[in-house]
Every structure is written in C-alpha cells, then in structure tokens.
C-alpha cells in the first residue's frame, strides 16, 4: 500500500474537481483524436489513414498518438509509452490498532513502455514512480516460433485474476485468493504458446513471487519455483455464445527453508487477519483452477487456489506437523449496461462522454473466501508449532459499479462486506463483520 494519508473533505472536493477537469480534457483530446474532420467530411485518404492507424512510411521515424504515444523507428522498433495513475478514497468499518483504514490511497503511479523489435520480439518495462520495489514487468518475449520464450521479471502463470492488468480489473481490488495466494511477479524464463484449443505456459523462476515475499529476516519464502498452466478454449473458432469460454489449471512448486512462513491473510483493504507466525519447512505447492466466460456484455469468472506448505520436522519432538493449508475461491459476474462486448473491453466505450453519449457503465458482483488452517489432532493453539491451527478466514461480498467515460478514464465504486473469522484471546473463534466503501479514479494511457 502506497502513501495512505488522511485528507479533509475540502481536499477531497479539490481533488475531485481536478479529476473532473482531467477527465474532460482527456475526453476533448479523445474527440480530437478520434477524427479531426467534421462528420462525413473527411477525405478518403484521411479515412484510410484513420482506419489503418498512422502508418509510418518505410524507414522513417514517426511519433503518433493512438491510444497512447507511439514511436516507430523504421520497421525495426515500435515503442508504446504508457502511464497509469490510480487513486482510491476509502472508508471502512474495520477499526485497526492504529485507528481506521479511512483515507486516500494513491494505489499506483506507473509509467512504462512496451514495444516490438523486428516483429519477432516484444518487450515491456514498467516502473512504479515510488515505493521500495518499484520495478514491475521487465521482460523480453521472443515470438518468432510457435513456442514463444519469455524472460525477465513478470507474473508467474497462476491465477487469472492476478494476471489481469490492474487497469482492467472488474473490481477495485483483486480477489483475496489472487492477492494472497497467487505468487505474483518474479524473475524467470517461461515457454508459452498455443496448440489448437490449448494454451500453455511452463516456466522456472528465481523465487516464489512478490505476493509472498518475506519482509523480515525471520520469515522465509520459496526458492526456485516451477510453474505451469494449461488453458483450454473448447469452443474456440465456433460462432456460438460459448466461443469465449475458457477453463484452465495451473500449478507451482517450490521449496521453503525452515522459518516463519510468509503467506499472510489480509482483508480487502489490507488489514492483516492471519499473520505468518507459523514455522514451515519443505515443499510449497499451489494448484489453481480457473474459468472465464464472456458472452456479449456479460462475464462470469471463477477461480480456486490452494496453497499447501509442508512443516517437516517442525513438531516439538522434531517430528513432522500437518501442512499449513491456505485456500481461496471467488465467483464473479459483470454486466455492461450500455451494451459493449465484454470480450472487447468496456474501456473503449461505443459512445464516450461528450461525444453523444455518457461512456460505458458496468455493474458486477463477487463473492469470495480465503482461509488458513491445518488438519491435525489435538488442541487448537497459537503456537508457532501448533499441530492444529484454528481456521481463520475472510468471507467477502463485493458489489461494484464501473463507469468508463472514455478510453482513458475509469471510475469504480465498490461496496465490500467482509466477515473475518479470527482467534480471540482464548484462541476460540470470533467473527468480525464490517462494510467498506472504495471509490477509485483511474487514468491510463
């Protein structure tokens, strides 16, 4: 979480005015960019250029602005410059030890460049403007052959939600399962491609990803990680409503050295409810199932992720303990009320604001659960070597509205109801239930 700070309502109003100004500016720019000619008066050559994009002549270096600034250096290199800012206004009923979670959170301030080299390789470099770990995706993908090879730092191929760009999320926050149990980014190399109805990714990575990165010397994380994913589009190529359906399965394996585990449980707004004070040692395995279907303006997504971490030799008698288990799932659905096709993305509305319309509007809902526990016999304990760990979980329901005034701007409002099952002082389970509200304003080039 970056730079959470408290602001007064007057500050919020000022920021809101600034947002509206920027939004309007972008919309005007969008209108100008869409067509410099009055409707129906454009010359044929201009129409052709618009329809095919601003194609540079062979060997020339040109700078154009399509969805984002693009630099073409002859036929050899194309660079697309990107930038993204997301700001959240949050209000939660969950009271933390330090106060509450209310405030403004500048979630992301990122710049990046993507590009193509000689039409045989693509690359991406993306960086957060501040923070301790600013580099995001930094990779090169060699795609001359059917089996493509990607190397660098990028997300491990597990979890549909985690591998969806933050710009294109259906809800302000990713699912609890994706955020806490999917590995996230790491340095590695991966082969991937498509064979008929099947897409595949197989890779090896230096570590177990950023999402479970140990933040203290006493916490440990996975070492060299192997990951794989297979996604099947069973109706690909057909013209039925099912043609977009895809189902997939993914896995990772790594070894975690002896120490406090690093997988933790956080609520939607980031409050920790399961802290990693459990000793682990041995193999860490993830298995994930995913499904996505986007018929017309609708979408249905679901995922299940299970993470198992062995606790070899961690008993008080140096024996093995039952593994630390973590599991999460979600089911979500969205509906674009303004009729855009979900598979094409509502972020390019048919009738943008100030161009005869009011943009695209989408509503959605998600239910999810994230749990931590161990299967054992005996008394429940909060000991780091407890054989039986009390099940701790977060059950959440999210209701959201997304408004896309134009292709660069997105406003999201989420109402989240969460129910935490956490241990009380006497190690019995207690339930905390609360509501949170989040408004996200996003600008993306």
């Amino acid at each position: 979480m970056l730079g959470i700070y408290q602001v007064s309502w007057s500050d919020r109003v000022c920021k809101g005015c600034a947002c509206i100004f920027l939004l309007t500016f972008c919309a005007e720019l969008d209108a100008q960019q869409a067509s410099p000619w009055p409707e129906g008066a454009a010359p044929a050559s201009a129409v052709a250029q618009q329809s095919t994009g601003d194609v540079a002549k062979q060997g020339e270096t040109t700078f154009t602005w399509r969805d984002h600034p693009t630099l073409d250096i002859g036929d050899h290199l194309q660079l697309d410059f990107r930038a993204r800012i997301q700001a959240d206004v949050r209000r939660s009923g969950f009271m933390t030890a330090d106060g509450d979670l209310d405030g403004v959170d500048i979630a992301r301030r990122r710049v990046g460049v993507t590009g193509t080299i000689d039409r045989i390789a693509t690359f991406e470099v993306e960086r957060e403007l501040d923070g301790n770990n600013p580099w995001r995706d930094v990779y090169l993908n060699y795609e001359q052959f059917p089996v493509q090879v990607q190397g660098g730092r990028f997300k491990l191929p597990l979890s549909l939600d985690e591998n969806t760009s933050a710009t294109n999320l259906d809800f302000v926050y990713r699912s609890r399962a994706a955020t806490q149990l999917a590995p996230g980014r790491d340095v590695g190399v991966m082969a991937h491609g498509r064979q008929g109805l099947v897409r595949y990714d197989v890779g090896i990575f230096r570590g177990d990803g950023d999402n479970s990165r140990a933040d203290t010397a006493t916490h440990v994380t996975g070492t060299t990680t192997r990951a794989g994913r297979i996604v099947i589009d069973p109706f690909r190529g057909s013209k039925s409503a099912w043609r977009d359906l895809q189902v997939g399965v993914a896995f990772t394996t790594s070894t975690v050295p002896e120490g406090f585990g690093d997988v933790r449980g956080r609520s939607a707004l980031g409050e920790s409810f399961f802290t990693p004070t459990i000793m682990v040692n041995g193999a860490r395995r993830r298995i994930a199932l995913e499904q996505r279907w986007r018929p017309g303006p609708f979408s249905v997504k679901a995922e299940y992720i299970r993470l198992t971490n062995e606790r070899l030799g961690q008993g008080m008698d140096d024996g093995d303990l039952p593994p630390l288990e973590s599991a999460g799932w979600y089911v979500s659905g969205t509906w674009i009320l303004t009729g855009e096709q979900k598979s094409r993305g509502p972020d390019n509305p048919t009738r943008p604001l100030f161009q005869g319309g009011y943009g695209a509007i989408e509503v959605g809902g998600r239910i999810e659960r994230l749990s931590f526990w161990s299967d054992g016999i005996g008394q429940i304990s909060t000991s780091p070597r407890a054989e039986v760990i009390l099940r701790q979980s977060d059950r959440a329901a999210t209701f959201g509205v997304n408004w896309f005034p134009n292709r660069w701007t997105k406003l999201q409002f989420n109402l989240v109801q969460e129910q935490l099952l956490i241990p009380s002082r006497d190690v019995a389970a207690q339930t905390l239930q609360f509501w949170s509200r989040v408004l996200r304003v996003q600008f993306a080039l």
């Binding site: 961690q314 008080m316 140096d318 780091p384 070597r385 009380s424 006497d426």
Partner: protein
C-alpha cells in the same frame, strides 16, 4: 490323584470358561485397558500444585523442545522470545506451553533460567491449576539453598512468598542440572496468599539505582520500572497512580502529615517485616540493596491502596553472618524516615527478634539447611552446567549451616544494642 485330577480338570474348565468369556466380550478388555490407562492418568491428574511445590521431594521436570528452538534459546538467551514445548511432571504432561529465557544477573546461555507459561499459546490452559512457573537456574548461588531458605523463612513468619521446590530439569531427555521451581506471582498467587485474586501485582524491574525518590507526577516514569502482572489491560492511571502517590508522599517534607500520607499507600508494618527478614538473612540485593531497591513485587489490594511487598529472587541472601541489621537502611528514603519514628523503630527491632526466634527455635533454620542439603546434593553434584565446583557447593552449604547457627544470637545482640 483323582482329586488332583478333578481339580486340574476344574481348573482347565475354568480357564476355558475364562477364555470363552474373553472371546465373547472383547470389549471388556478394552474397557479394562482404558480403565487402567485412565487410572494412571487420574493418578497424575490427582496431583496438585501443593505436590509440585513440595520442598521435601526432588522432582523431575521434563521439557521437550524442537531442536532448532533449543538452539535458538541458547543462542538468543538475552531475548524474551517464547518457544513452544511440552512439559511433563510425574507422568502428567501438557503441550504447547511457552518457554523463554529469564533472569537478569543469572541469565546465561549455558544453564538457562526458564519461565514457563501454560496459557500463552492455548488460552485458559492450566497445569495443576497454574498459569505458569519459573525454573530458577541457581546460577549465582553455589550454596544452592539461599533462595529457598529465605522464602521458607518469609513463609514461616507469615509473610507472602512464592512456594518453591527442587527439580532436576531434563530438556529433550538431557539433564540440565538442579533447578528451583518457583511459583509465579499472579492472580492465583494473590488468591492463595491474600484471598484477593482481583488485586493488583506489579513486578519491579531494576533499571538504575533507585532509593525511593519521587520521580514526578508523570506515570510514564513508573511504567518501565513496574510491570503489571495482573490487570495488564487497565489504564495506567488505574494501575500506577497508587505507586506515584506512594513515592510522592514518601518524599514530602511536611513531617506532621508524612506518616499518615505514607500509611495511606503502604502497609507499613508489612513493609518493615519484609525489610527485617531481608536484614536478618543479610540480603545483598533487596529493598536496602547495594544498588538501590530490587527483587520484589508490589501488591495492592483490590479494595484499598495500602501496598505490600512480595519477595523475589533471593540468590544473594546469607552474605555475612555479622552483617548489621541497619545496613544501608539510611540510603532508602522511605526506610530512613520510617525508622525515624521511635515506635516504628521499636516495631522493626521486635520484628528482628521475631526473625531470630523463628530461625533459632528448635534450631529450625539449621535443620532446614541440613535436610535440604541432603535432598539436593546428589543432583547438584551431577549438575553438568553449574558454574561452580562441588567443593564450592560443600563450602557454601557449610557456611549456611554456620550462618543458621550463629546469626540469631548476633541479630539479637544488635537489637539490644540498637535500643
């Protein structure tokens, strides 16, 4: 012959019948086994805390820790990190207890002083009704018995004191040495000693030389020095105001109301008795210690503000048989002014006489030294981690015997001279 043959036949028949019964009702075997197991468990559970603190027995305590935790406990003995372990005494065991290194001057990596909390990892877990115990490593006492003898004298004189007994400690089946099992000062101790489990009890931590001066009205000046062992979650005002008031009243210059003010926040007779016992046993590191006040808990009843002292850590008692019963008394602000009142000085002297009488009567203290030494000597000789030799132990115990024999008369002479 026939008769014998009939008997044999009868016996065989009975045996077959028994077998038949056993075959027909195998569940009875299970019931019998379960009953036997249950009986043994019940025998263990039938023990009480009084049995654990029985000083006439040499106990065996076994702790099992993960090998990594044991290594960490030794390497990081200066930290107060709790490690999970299993605790066993007389066949009764309890799991997921919390074990940490403890002690100030006695804290070391070779022979660990340990604090055991039964309820840290499992809320409400008790062992023999206890929330925890301390295992004193006897690191600073070659005579082995200083701590337990002093506590026994406190108890004999009707003063609140933790119960203690001796134990051979085994960690992961390896003998660690002779330890003293010390009762934890908590709400259960208050219940047993004062019938007041709702009382307040705070452990004094030595931070620097403190002689009872007033540290000001800010309660934060006292929070580091006094750690609450009950009512930990209550506001500092509730927990510390009576302590701040005590030192405020004790340092006022107004003579006319000084005694009344102090009496409101201190049980003066109990305080003087505590000091008298310390002076009788020539305590080096107590209320009138060589480096200021040390080694005590402060108890405040739930229904009034008159605070009392509870002794702790007496490894430095029995220093010198000729020690003055007024040694360093004037260093302490409260003691100095209390003993300035003739009646309180007389009360103090009477208490010293009571100490001498309790120790000398029927040669109680001397006999205590003898039987306790006989009980623990084999275990301490086998102690692989003690920082002193067996000769040191023998000399220390011999000194205690002479102290126990000679000290009462010396104290009585000093009392007579002090009047």
């Amino acid at each position: 012959m026939n008769s014998h043959g009939e008997d044999a036949a009868t016996e065989n028949t009975e045996t077959r019948d028994d077998r038949r019964v056993l075959r027909i009702r195998p569940s009875m075997v299970c019931v019998l086994v379960a009953a036997l197991l249950g009986l043994s468990t019940d025998l263990a559970l039938a023990q009480t805390a009084d049995d654990l603190f029985d000083p006439t027995a040499l106990h065996d305590i076994r702790i099992r820790l993960n090998a990594r935790d044991l290594q960490s406990l030794h390497e990081r003995y200066l930290e107060n990190t709790f490690y999970p372990g299993e605790f066993e005494w007389r066949g009764a065991s309890v799991g997921n207890v919390a074990v940490r290194s403890r002690g100030t001057g006695s804290r070391n990596a070779i022979k660990l002083g340990l604090e055991i909390e039964f309820d840290r990892f499992i809320g409400g877990q008790r062992f023999l009704g206890l929330r925890g115990i301390t295992l004193d490593n006897l690191w600073q006492d070659p005579a082995i018995l200083r701590e337990s003898l002093t506590m026994a004298l406190f108890a004999r004189l009707g003063q609140p004191a933790p119960r203690e007994s001796y134990a051979r400690l085994f960690i992961n089946d390896e003998y660690q040495g002779l330890y003293t099992i010390v009762e934890t000062i908590d709400d259960q101790f208050l219940s047993r000693s004062f019938g007041d489990p709702a009382g307040y009890v705070l452990e004094y931590h030595w931070l620097n030389e403190f002689y009872g001066s007033y540290l000001g009205s800010r309660l934060s000046a006292y929070t580091m020095m006094f750690e609450p062992r009950t009512h930990e979650l209550e506001s500092p005002t509730t927990v510390y105001s009576a302590i701040e008031r005590l030192f405020y009243e004790a340092n006022r210059n107004t003579d006319s109301t000084w005694r009344e003010g102090v009496d409101r926040y201190l049980d003066v007779p109990q305080f003087l008795m505590h000091v008298a016992i310390e002076e009788f046993v020539s305590e080096l590191d107590g209320i009138s210690g060589y480096a200021g006040m040390n080694n005590f808990y402060l108890y405040r009843p739930s229904d009034n503000t008159r605070q009392q002292l509870i002794p702790w850590d007496r490894d430095n008692a029995f220093q010198a048989v000729q020690s003055s019963v007024f040694l360093r008394i004037d260093d302490n602000e409260i003691l100095r002014r209390l003993l300035g009142y003739p009646d309180l000085r007389e009360l103090y002297l009477q208490m010293l006489e009571a100490c001498a009488a309790a120790a000398a009567g029927d040669r109680w203290l001397e006999r205590e030294v003898v039987w306790r030494a006989a009980l623990v000597t084999p275990a301490v000789r086998a102690d692989p981690n003690k920082p002193y030799s067996n000769d040191d132990v023998d000399r220390g115990i011999a000194f205690l015997q002479s102290f126990a024999r000679d000290r009462p008369a010396i104290v009585l002479n000093q009392v007579r001279a002090g009047r």
